[in-house]
């Protein structure tokens, strides 16, 4: 099967079956899957909302989810057949003093936008304190999740 490594701030959707892997810390990846066509797409965003700074890239959740949704429809997926799986959003650096953590905000945003779009979330593995490695098989929509065992360097 074709392989693709998904870099942070990019997205991937292709009609051909692929094995897409990515590694998530506080970032969130949203996978969308059309079961009838056997096509999935995935993004990997770092921050919840674009604030008008720099380019409007899929580094930001609101842009990443909308663009992935659009791209899926362009390659023939139907809105009412799409289901979603979300991963990531760990609070890797521990509790900051900001009170509201990036990982949590990324997760909340994914749930919010997906519910606005009316796309059901059929699986999710989010939050916690450790990073994840995920591998998505785009034809079956199956996602393998590896949880990180955290080891501070130097320990």
């Amino acid at each position: 099967m074709l392989k693709h490594f998904l870099f942070p701030g990019t997205l991937f959707a292709d009609p051909k079956p692929h094995q897409v892997s990515t590694v998530l810390g506080s970032c969130v990846a949203v996978c969308l899957w059309d079961s009838k066509l056997g096509i999935s797409g995935i993004n990997h965003y770092m921050l919840p909302l674009w604030n008008g700074e720099g380019l409007a890239t899929p580094k930001y959740g609101n842009i990443a989810i909308e663009k992935l949704f659009d791209r899926m429809q362009v390659i023939g997926c139907k809105h009412d057949r799409l289901v979603a799986k979300i991963f990531g959003g760990a609070n890797v650096t521990g509790a900051g003093n900001s009170g509201y953590l990036i990982g949590d905000r990324n997760i909340t945003l994914a749930k919010q936008i997906l519910s606005e779009l009316g796309i059901p979330i059929v699986a999710c593995d989010v939050g916690g304190r450790v990073g994840r490695k995920i591998i998505l098989n785009t034809d079956s929509g199956v996602v393998f999740v590896g949880k990180g065992r955290v080891n501070a360097l130097g320990e």
């Binding site: 701030g9 997205l11 810390g25 604030n51 409007a56 890797v92 593995d125 990073g131 590896g146 949880k147």
Partner: protein
């Protein structure tokens, strides 16, 4: 609970709710400001096509005009002069178009790093060569400062993206230099083995309050119909987006009236090798059991 305890507790609660109110106030001000910026950005995007019209049409017209002239020329010297002008205009057009396409690709999330071992000196020289015509026509001199000419700097990074990053900085430096000015390009590896690339000009410089804003898309500090500089206002935000993708950063140092120096630091790209480890924020992760979702 005694009355005193009750009073201190009450005072504490009051100050807490007061703080919550002021936090909320700050937050809604921020939201208001963000909303204005988003609206401004959208408006700029709408004007984008008319803004870049000149950047595309002018070099293209020059190329067509110059190519037409060659047809009637016989003297070899005249012809080679015109060919070098065509070359310079074509390079300019190529640079503008590549910028527009990479900006579109970045916004679509379609830009992946393609990492190879890159001869940085050669890339920098190529880009300088492609801007030679533009520099000569403004009588701007470009000087290159490298540690050792015989030993080129090698770095694991994306050559095409490094080219675009440097081309944008150089193009800006030439554009904002006064006629007869000097643009200095300095290249070195720092102690950690990161590439440090500095492009300095002796133009008008950038005020401190503008130094953040200029990285926004479609932003030129001097706007409106009387603006005196070319460009589409994408260069610096492309530069910073590409650097983010490659793990680098860009800094600007400037005093108004004394020019500006843009400094890029770029680490060797750390390819995720597909092994079961990953590091973020100095934490190392191991992935062992994979579960199915």
């Amino acid at each position: 609970m005694t009355d005193d305890e009750l009073l201190t507790e009450l005072a504490k609660r009051f100050s807490q709710s007061e703080k919550a109110f002021s936090d909320l106030g700050v937050l809604s001000l921020k939201l208001l400001e963000m909303n204005q910026r988003l609206e401004a950005s959208e408006a700029l995007k709408t004007n984008f096509l008319s803004n870049i019209r000149n950047e595309i049409v002018n070099p293209l017209n020059s190329i067509i005009g110059l190519a037409g002239q060659i047809l009637h020329l016989k003297d070899e010297k005249d012809i080679s002069q015109i060919v070098s002008m065509i070359c310079s205009e074509a390079n300019n057009l190529d640079f503008q178009l590549r910028n527009i396409f990479i900006a579109a690709a970045l916004e679509a999330g379609d830009v992946d790093p393609k990492i190879v071992r890159v001869n940085v000196n050669a890339i920098i020289r190529n880009v300088i060569d492609s801007f030679f015509g533009a520099a000569v026509s403004k009588s701007v001199v470009i000087t290159l400062d490298v540690p050792d000419n015989d030993i080129p700097i090698l770095l694991a990074t994306d050559s095409e993206k490094l080219e675009i990053i440097f081309a944008n900085l150089l193009s800006n430096a030439i554009e904002f230099s006064p006629p007869g000015g000097v643009v200095t390009v300095a290249l070195k590896l720092n102690l950690e083995g990161w590439l440090v690339l500095t492009v300095s000009d002796c133009g008008a410089g950038i005020a401190a309050e503008d130094q953040k804003r200029m990285f926004d898309r479609f932003t030129q500090l001097d706007t409106g119909t009387t603006r005196s500089h070319h460009g589409h206002g994408l260069g610096l935000c492309i530069t910073s987006s590409l650097l983010e993708l490659l793990g680098g950063s860009v800094m600007v140092q400037s005093t108004p009236g004394e020019g500006a120096a843009f400094s890029v630091t770029l680490p060797p790209f750390n390819v995720f090798d597909g092994e079961d480890t990953f590091s973020e924020n100095d934490n190392l992760f191991f992935f062992d059991d994979m579960s199915e979702k």
